[in-house]
């Protein structure tokens, strides 16, 4: 190939590398809103994704059902064991709630929403970034359904991520396993506070960082959101602590958290809008 590296080709190659650099620079900064070509592409592709994704789930669901039937006996046994406590706990919960509401009324706080209160918006996962590097899924609810950037996204097992960019009819969810746009989530475990940020892809664990060095965190404790961040309600389960180390400077502890949600098998998700007001939502309303 003698003529392959001709001047014209080299110039085109260099120009495209410059364009690539500019595009990466444009897209790497944090954006809440998509530009209109992106919105158009997202919404158009989203429609077809929905059409193709549903039948695929039905077919996969059929095989899943066969597997489920095999597991039913085992699960039934385990469920029966845990059910024996259920009635007692339910009654206790009801009494406590009643007491709590009474006390709150006495203090004239009954109109304040709790940090843990939230509105639920159900959404279906219609697409997923397939390259394994971009940990992004696409859901079928968008701006028109009241979805905003940075809302928490959960499954029945626990927190999976937050909403990234939003278009009219679809929006993308940045999973907790994403490397590039790391979620920073204010979290707590047994009233010990810290931040969940970063993902250890080798162990498949999230990193619960900035825990005070003297605090007593133990293996097996459950980590939940604290509600002190701007948009997440409190009490959403994140995962279980599997290992505790100290940071390189010995000033804080770092715990590895096995996430309770399965990021590989996402189908139905719930987008969570918290009812309590925060500085961010207040300034947004003005």
């Amino acid at each position: 190939m003698p003529s392959f590296f001709s001047n014209k080709r080299l110039i085109v190659l260099l120009a495209s590398i410059i364009v690539l650099g500019a595009l990466i620079g444009y897209s790497i900064k944090e954006r809440k809103q998509m530009s209109w070509p992106e919105q158009f592409a997202h919404d158009t592709v989203g429609l077809f994704q929905y059409i193709f994704n549903r039948p695929a789930h039905y077919v996969a669901g059929f095989f899943g059902t066969i597997q489920d039937i095999e597991n039913t006996y085992k699960e039934n046994k385990a469920l029966k064991e845990s059910l024996s406590d259920y009635a007692r706990v339910k009654q206790e919960n009801r009494d406590l709630k009643h007491d709590y509401q009474d006390l709150k009324k006495q203090m004239n706080l009954s109109n304040m929403p709790e940090l843990s209160d939230f509105k639920k918006l159900h959404a279906l996962v219609i697409g997923r970034s397939n390259d394994g590097w971009n940990q992004v899924v696409i859901v079928d609810k968008g701006e028109n359904d009241g979805i905003k950037s940075d809302m928490a996204v959960v499954t029945s097992d626990g927190l999976v991520g937050k909403i990234g960019k939003v278009s009219k009819f679809t929006s993308e969810v940045i999973l907790l396993t994403n490397m590039e746009q790391q979620n920073q989530i204010s979290a707590m475990s047994n009233h010990v506070y810290g931040m969940v940020e970063g993902y250890d892809s080798k162990h498949g664990t999230l990193l619960f960082q900035k825990i005070p060095i003297k605090s007593k965190v133990k293996k097996g404790q459950i980590v939940t959101t604290s509600g002190y961040s701007q948009l997440f309600p409190s009490g959403l389960p994140i995962g279980k602590i599997t290992r505790i180390t100290t940071d390189p400077y010995g000033l804080t502890k770092i715990a590895q958290v096995q996430p309770s949600a399965n990021f590989n098998d996402l189908n139905h998700v719930v987008i969570v809008e918290r009812s309590a007001r925060s500085a961010a939502t207040d300034s947004g309303n003005k």
Binding site: L20, I24, Y26, V45, F52, D131, W133, I174, M179, E180
Partner: protein, 170 residues
Amino acid sequence: MKHLKLFLVLFLLLIIEGSVMPVFLPDFQWKPIQMVPVFVFIFILFISFFLSRNLSLLYAIVFGFLTDMVYTSILGVYAFCMGLTAYLFSYLARLFHLNLFIILILTLLGISVFQFEVYMIYSLIGVTNQSFTDFLKWRLPATLLLNGVFIILFYYPFQRLLLKIDKSSD
């Protein structure tokens, strides 16, 4: 007509890649195996083998950019890598007499080069921190296996379609 047919096939493959395959792919939970379907890129390589180089370059950029917009958060990476690789491999393909075996080898080589390019750019800007040994050990073999099966299954339908389009445009 030619463009409409090619666009529809590529669009269908794009949807299958992102919305159908993740449902059916085996779930390697917490194991580092990554099996990545790159069906759009395979068809673009086929266009560069059987139709024309410029057409494949055009579609590589259009569908690379669509992949970037819909499935990733960084624009331009897939468009650039798909375009470059398809262009290079259209030259490479002229050195051989094309049959199923040669096409299979060339396409798998193309996928490896393409994945490597995307990997380089992504590790440069911090989208992934996968180590190069993990990339070679866990990602590449599984990806080549999946896409190799796809090529063998769809070689004859794709070839027939492309040759028919080629004939009708003459």
